[in-house]
Symmetry: C2
Subunit: 239 residues, 2 copies
């Protein structure tokens, strides 16, 4: 294996635990407002609408918009479906920005901090710049650069995102590694010539998760955590 | 004064000392190859070609290209003019990448580290992404995001750069401050509604510098260093 010069990270699920963070946030909000709702199902429905909403942009059923705005379209629909009443515009904006306040997995910050010493590290995410920058500050993610979908006006798995990040870094695809908890993301990256690293996140979708429990191809690296990825890539400890 | 949410920094001259860094690099290279040349004048001529070369892109005399490529066009011309002989393609590429290895001013890293606690901090530079990312790693600049000219396909002082960065951050211009050592950069930023901070860098162009010695307008902040800017914006010390 040739060492990459840059490692790009899928972010939602791979670096941050969106599900438990949003559930905690919505449950706390519900308690503070004495609002009863099935917040867990609402969060799962919110995420389930993620790929279909990006597909609507891809098919030109919706104009280009930030992921923040797609999240908001979905949230507006879900609060009606889940019969959550009495939310102001300010409340909805606050809840939608819950995606800017997600907890990192316990190994993410330590592993990234080690990798940053030897490699360029950056998210390659469907989030927009402002979401990802706010999230990095909230979670303490020490990125060297932020590759967001609004830089490309494309969402993953469109090839423009993977190849666009390589182009901005002035690196060949084989000099760049994508790290993701999702086999499909890695498949597209490999088809374009990038190196690949899988990190299992078997509770990303909760304890009954069935997808992406294991690497389903011989990725260049298969790791259990970002710390493990740093170990396997020979990144030292931070002194 | 209303506190900004983000501070954008001009980079060459404001954050890093390009002139003394490049002179040291070229002089050391000359000694290692036993090449005699007026390296100081070559560096000054290299920088003097900076604005005119971007103007050629602006006027469509040249296609869009990275600042790295504009630097290289100029370097190829100057090695001939300064009669520097025997450089290989590898040598020229190495020297051109000297712009990726510039020293920060002594107050830059400390000041930025303090400001990062309270504000989003990012360069807003005519450099390209790869240049600015490599430079940040070399100099230890703790950016939250990197706003490079190749994100916009425009160079400063085109309005698309200042307003494009605000748009990516999802902030209004008045929520964003530009910090620069160059009055002209601040004039454009102010005309577009951004807040402004001047930092004097009276030796950027050497000890006989005549321009930008002083703030020539009532900028929102006038500071002597990035540390002083952090003081004036109430950023605490780093523990």
């Amino acid at each position: 294996m040739i060492y990459p010069k840059a490692i790009l990270f899928d972010t939602f699920g791979t670096i941050v635990d969106w599900r438990s963070s949003l559930i905690d946030e919505l449950q706390a909000f519900g308690i503070s407002r004495a609002l009863v709702a099935n917040w867990v199902s609402l969060v799962d429905a919110w995420r389930a609408a993620y790929a279909p909403s990006m597909d609507r942009v891809r098919k030109d059923e919706l104009p280009w918009m930030r992921l923040d705005d797609l999240h908001r379209l979905t949230l507006d629909r879900l609060v009606a479906e889940f019969d959550v009443k009495g939310l102001s515009e300010e409340d909805l904006d606050h809840l939608n920005r819950g995606w800017h306040r997600l907890r990192p997995w316990p190994d993410s910050v330590g592993g990234l901090t080690r990798l940053k010493r030897n490699f360029i590290i950056a998210p390659l995410s469907n989030g927009n710049v402002s979401l990802l920058v706010n999230l990095a500050k909230y979670a303490g993610l020490p990125w060297d650069m932020v590759f967001a979908s609004d830089l490309f006006h494309h969402f993953k798995p469109d090839r423009e995102t993977y190849l666009g990040a390589c182009e901005f870094l002035n690196l060949r695809p084989e000099e760049v590694m994508l790290c993701a908890a999702h086999n499909s993301d890695l498949r597209m990256a490999r088809s374009l010539g990038l190196q690949t690293a899988f990190i299992a996140r078997p509770t990303e979708y909760g304890h009954h998760q069935v997808r992406d429990i294991h690497a389903d191809d011989a990725w260049d690296v298969v790791a259990t955590s970002v710390e493990d990825l740093a170990d396997q890539l020979g990144a030292g400890t931070v002194v």
